[in-house]
Amino acid sequence: MSSIKKFLFINRRAPYGTVYAWESLEVVLIGAAFDQQVNLAFVDDGVFQIVKGQDTSQLSTKNFSPTYSALGDYGVTNLYVEKESLDLRGLTANDLLPLKYEDENDNYAEKDSIQVVSAAALAKILEEQDVLLNF
């Protein structure tokens, strides 16, 4: 068995209504620190986690959406967003946080972390993973 595994964290829940989105992010950050290949998928209400303009100041709860912007620095650069889930919710990529990373292998060029993919494409990506964790 190779010592580096491909992890895919599948985020399915909206933020704030439940803690799953936030506690998933905590696992992602630890996973990245273990030098594994960590990828994220946003499916169903999980796409709401990365909607821009979140403001929890009236809710006495922590706004953790800025943390997604830090993922690139942890080497987490593949954020797959299912197109069917966006469509059902009337969202487009423009409604999402502008998540970027600097590509070490391309003279630190700034690139998009988010890839909008179809369900069929995502199904193939699932098959390529070693570890799938749902949140």
Partner: protein, 97 residues
């Protein structure tokens, strides 16, 4: 006192909104809060269902929950008024569907 129905789950994840629309009587009010506020967004797969229910029901959504989720600008087909916690108390919240 008119019944106020509350919906706290996303209409894309759970069947709470559908049950509410089925069991609310004419003249009732429906309040979206917590993840239920996603039901107040324009242009979604459930928006038409709510629009047609507006003939019989009044809809509102909790402002702080809309803002937290970054959808206050995306929300608001006609009639879905954002309300604060204060207004909820006065409006008379009574959970039933």
């Amino acid at each position: 006192m008119s019944t106020l129905h509350t919906v706290n789950k996303s209409p894309f994840e759970k069947n709470s909104l559908e049950a509410c629309l089925r069991l609310a009587a004419k003249g009732n009010t429906v309040l979206f809060f917590e993840d239920g506020v996603y039901g107040a967004m324009k242009g979604t797969a459930v928006a038409d269902k709510i629009k047609s229910a507006m003939n019989n029901l009044t809809f509102c959504a909790l402002g702080p929950d809309l803002k937290a989720r970054g959808i206050d600008a995306l929300a608001g087909h006609a009639g879905a008024i954002a309300a604060g916690h204060q207004q909820c108390v006065q409006g008379g919240q009574r959970r039933d569907a």
